[in-house]
Amino acid sequence: MARMRYLKIWVGGAILSLLLVCGLAAPFLTPYDPQEQRLEHRLRPPSLGGQGFGPHWLGTDNLGRDILSRIIYGSRISLLVGATTVVLAGFMGCFLGALAGYFGDLTDEVISKISEIFLAFPFLLLAIALMAFLGQGLLNLILALMLTRWVQYCRVVRGEVLSLKERDFVVAARALGGRDFYILFRHVVPNTLASVTVIATFAMAIVIIAEASLSFLGLGVPPSIPTWGSMLSEGRSYMYRAPWLTIFPGIAIFVTVFGINLLGDGLRDILDPKLRGQR
């Protein structure tokens, strides 16, 4: 079993690392400029080249753009949105959750009610609503997803802090004259990091699917930036004529999310045995 857990972490980590390298080194790895339109090469099926045109391993789209290059560039947006959202939502949720759990009373009441309001919305729906009113854009997208994801961290951290603040080491820190904020952020919050890491990993997978869904609905980043979701949306119109336009971006999303979920599963088994088997 232990070997299985480490295998999950290794495989998941390897997939994620490979994607990170692809995203960072995109300009060196891509065979073509992802925005370069060559109408004479439009809707070419996947090929290794020949017949007067270069290799397009995953084919070309309706404007003659290379699908592989666009998928590699698309990984940048997915990973950027995923990582930034998870970190920002994590900070916001952990901060508020820690305050609610540690200070209790009115602070807890107010923060818990706010989190209940956000929890009352199915998260993707709230993101759709926010994007519809905020408008397309990378920052708006990150903001919308962050506002829908902080609650999970808040709830878990609050629960953990509630139990941790009664532990001996916190009582000792208080007896030694430690101030509340010092004790909270120096002694209490670091002890919640194992759970937070597990939530963050799964949240990243959810955020990547959400980003792709919003881009698919035309509510993500502007169409000029290649993303997997918008590629799928554009490819739908040519689904029967050029299925590769929808197959490959979908596989890219699936492999990324699968890798992150695998990593999350492995990390959870090691860091947070209480949550084992849950999702």
Partner: protein, 330 residues
């Protein structure tokens, strides 16, 4: 206890209304100018602003919104020219039918795999089942829908790819749930057509839910299997079949049913995307249409409605949970 739960729900509902109300006000620029376009005259903009009450102070606007919302009045849709509530209730049965069919798909897939994985835990089949569940949660449902349309709808021509019923089939609507209406009226061609139209959307929406429920089923059963009363049941000499059916499954089902109820949010999330992919005329599809033509009133009403259903169902599940298992205090 019940009263406390209901009183606690009031500030949350007020918060939901506040958030939905302010969504329209966070839009950059003037929503009326955006809605009417560049060709609108100043007089037209002012008139629409007055009609919508947007020339009033913000607190007055919120009070107006709230006092109408509690009466189920969200104004008129600009695109359809009809009351938002009427449009929602016309489309809601389609979403309910889709959500319930997806739930059925999820139950049929997840419970047998979850139960089997738990009973044979750490076996090759358990790992295969959990691997399958991991694949399920990692599949973006809109992509799965597109692939089903391409392969089952296009290549093999097995199922229709859009709508709720074949064009030309007449169906007398009573509940607007096509499966129910066709059975009530004995219209079997309509029933078969509705089943065919529902098949791919239900698989698309049900798959990710099935993956989540499989994992929860497995973990709930493993949890119950570790309890002392299971050891006692075995020590009494009960057959393994009796232990599984009478003691393990019956106790694990409480958690599984609760989780299924709480997954309604996931179904509502997924319904928006699934309905868009399959042009399925439910409230999710209506929301995307409203957003695409900037029909703010309709979008606002729909978002409030979604949040209200989600909140109400979660509350109901909590209360049912308390009734089923009296040890639980809310």
């Amino acid at each position: 206890m019940l009263r406390r739960r209901f009183i606690g729900a009031i500030p949350v509902l007020l918060g939901i209304s506040l958030l939905v109300f302010f969504l329209m006000h966070i839009a950059p620029g003037d929503p009326i100018s955006l809605l009417l376009g560049d060709d609108a005259t100043e007089a037209e903009i002012q008139r629409t602003r007055h009609e919508w009450g947007l020339d009033q102070p913000i607190l007055v606007q919120y009070w107006e919104f709230l006092s109408h919302a509690v009466r189920g009045d969200f104004g008129k849709s600009l695109k359809f020219g009809e009351p938002v509530t009427k449009l929602v209730f016309e489309r809601l049965p389609a979403t309910c039918e889709l959500a319930l069919s997806s739930l059925l798909v999820a139950i049929l897939i997840s419970i047998p795999i979850g139960v089997y994985s738990a009973i044979k835990h750490d076996s090759l089949l358990d790992h295969a089942g959990m691997g399958l569940a991991l694949v399920g949660v990692s599949l973006p449902n809109f992509w799965l829908g597109i692939m089903l349309i391409y392969f089952l709808g296009g290549q093999f021509n097995l199922f229709p790819v859009a709508g709720r019923i074949e064009y030309g089939i007449q169906l007398e609507t009573i509940t607007r749930l096509y499966l129910v209406d066709s059975l009530i009226t004995g219209n079997f061609p309509a029933f078969w057509s509705a089943v065919q139209h529902l098949f791919m959307p239900a698989i698309t929406l049900g798959t990710s839910l099935a993956a989540i429920v499989t994992r929860i089923t497995r973990s709930s059963i493993l949890e119950v299997m570790r309890q002392d009363y299971i050891t006692t049941a075995r020590a009494k000499g009960l057959s393994e079949r009796a232990v599984i059916w009478r003691h393990i499954l019956r106790n694990a089902m409480i958690t599984i049913i609760t989780i299924l109820g709480l997954q309604l949010g996931a179904l509502l999330n997924g319904a928006v995307i699934t309905e868009t992919v399959f042009s399925f005329p439910g409230i999710g599809d209506l929301l995307i249409q409203a957003i695409s033509v900037r029909d703010y009133k309709l979008a606002q009403g729909l978002i409030f409605f979604f949040a209200f259903i989600y909140f109400a169902v979660n509350l109901l599940v909590d209360l049912l949970y308390m009734l089923v298992d009296p040890r639980i205090k809310l």
